[in-house]
């Protein structure tokens, strides 16, 4: 099966005043339909920069895409025009971010923010959008959808806010979903719920999910395959069970060792 997302030898540099940082160095990975790929690594490993590259969301004055390509089907995202690129964002490919409080506009109602996707990509009118966001909210597990749609981000709990982000990402029925540390800012009890929701929705809609995380526990829970990154490079790729059982790379082994395990005494 042809992968929905194919990153080939991607290199991303950040040109700062004093130096150039090679945030992403010849990274290659693929994500198939219905599959959840975890990209794991410490902070600074380049995983977020890689994720942002899929929609070309890296801030472009310091950032330069110095090599390789990001392919959706046959098209290279890095070479698309602004217009085509905007057509893809929120539509074919959607992204959710780490901190739902800062990622939502505090001055706009939640329903309106979700509706923006429909108004942009499906030409919905304001009232059409208002109705169409309700099923998206319910699908994301938000009870009392009508009331919630009229609320502002600060009126919702952290878990609910992330569900709103998920609803916003999914309302356009994207083929590829990129989730950048979606549970890091949440309570431990809520984390599991959100992860389950993501996986469930992914399978239901046949989406390819690229999950960025530093938490190996999350990887073990939900991922089918895993890519391990260190200092901008891919050090290991494979099925989750294989990599966890028989890690080929020294760095991967170190990561696994560092993960606290529950000991039964």
């Amino acid at each position: 099966m042809k992968p929905l997302l194919r990153i080939e030898e991607l290199s991303v540099d950040f040109r700062l005043d004093t130096e150039t940082v090679h945030a992403v160095d010849s990274v290659s990975l693929t994500v198939e339909e219905g599959e959840t790929l975890a990209v794991v690594g410490e902070s600074g490993s380049g995983k977020t920069a890689t994720a942002l590259s899929v929609l070309r969301l890296n801030p472009e004055p310091p950032c330069v895409y110095s090599g390789g390509g990001v392919f959706l089907g046959d098209r290279d995202v890095l070479k698309l025009s602004e217009k085509d690129l905007r057509g893809i964002r929120g539509n074919e490919v959607a992204m959710i971010f780490q901190d739902p409080m800062s990622s939502l506009n505090p001055l706009k109602r939640v329903g309106v923010q979700i509706g923006e996707v429909l108004r942009r990509h499906q030409g919905a009118t304001r009232s059409e959008a208002r109705q169409a966001v309700l099923p998206a909210l319910r699908e994301a597990g938000i009870p009392d959808a009508e009331r919630r749609a009229g609320q502002y981000p600060h009126q919702l709990s952290g878990g609910l806010r992330q569900r709103v982000m998920i609803a916003m990402a999914l309302v356009g029925r994207p083929k590829v979903l990129i989730a950048d540390e979606p549970t890091t800012a949440l309570d431990v009890t809520v984390q599991a719920q959100i992860l389950d929701l993501l996986v469930d929705l992914g399978q239901r809609h046949g989406m390819a999910i690229m999950l960025i995380t530093h938490d190996l526990g999350v990887v073990a829970e939900v991922a089918d395959r895993v890519v391990v990154m260190n200092r901008g490079q891919v050090v290991e790729t494979g099925d989750v069970l294989d990599v966890f059982d028989r890690p080929a790379d020294e760095y991967t082994r170190a990561l696994l060792r560092a993960t606290p395990k529950l000991e039964l005494t």
């Binding site: 929609l55 969301l57 905007r86 057509g87 893809i88 964002r89 929120g90 539509n91 959607a94 992204m95 971010f97 901190d99 800062s102 990622s103 939502l104 506009n105 505090p106 001055l107 706009k108 923006e116 996707v117 942009r120 990509h121 502002y152 600060h154 009126q155 982000m165 916003m168």
Partner: protein, 323 residues
Amino acid sequence: MTELSVGAARVPTAASGVLRTVVTKIVTAIIVLLCVATVAFFLVRLSGDPVKLLLPPDATADQEATLRASLGLDRPLITQYLDYLAGLLRLDFGTSLVYDQPVADVLLERLPATLQLAAAAMVLALVISVPAGIIAALRRGKAGDTGVMTGVLIGQSTPPFWVGILLILVFSVQLKVLPASGYGTFTHLVLPSITLAAYSVAVIARLLRSSLIDVLSSDYIRTAKAKGLGTGGIVLSHGLRNASLPVITVIGLEFGSLLGGAILTEQVFAWPGSGRLTIEAITNRDFPMVQAAVLFFAAIFVVVNLLVDISYTVLDPRVRLGR
């Protein structure tokens, strides 16, 4: 130099909480005005004996005593103060020593001219500074930004009354297209309002620029981009909407500064407004007038600020709705 004052941000739990906040603010405003009135009262009496200043140097002691009694200045200070406060409640501000008319009448007669000038300047300032601030924020670090910021720097450093003098030199004396002074038609309003607006343009443009830059670098803008929204839509719908909140507060404060600046501008252009009247009053030692003028200007400022403060409470849903 203006200050950013957002007051104590109270977080009410419902609409009644908003009402409570509004009422509190109104009460505070009244107290502030009372304090201003008191300060004005004592201020004016700081200079020593107003009676001596009003009389020619060769006046006799008798004449002095008569004048003092007629002005009610021979009574103890406390009595004068309480009389003054009582008068304020009756909206009686005393009689002008120069015009021999109720002070309130004279002031009110001239007030429209000042308000017209301040309003025209505010509108002009907004019309110039808002686009300038947006351009500077969007073209940050490039030519547009540098140009705007240079303008801001010059605007904040140039004495406003000199701007007026220069404008008169160029447009009235050399080019002869606009009048140098006087009141009545639109052409009379042009130069004074440009002069008065100059400083405010700089302050507002600078603030809008930095506020917009802040907002545009926040996470929710990245989310908006990730949804496929275009630059125009993002700047207007998300950027400006969020960036304008702190600017609105400053606009209120700027209006106060405009009132102060109007005093100077009126002098430069011989504009028949309350500002010029106040200066006359000070020069002539017409202290009932000065007292009232200080109170008037402060009152306008306090009311405008109150409105801006309340509007902020209403506009920001985080304050309005709370948790």
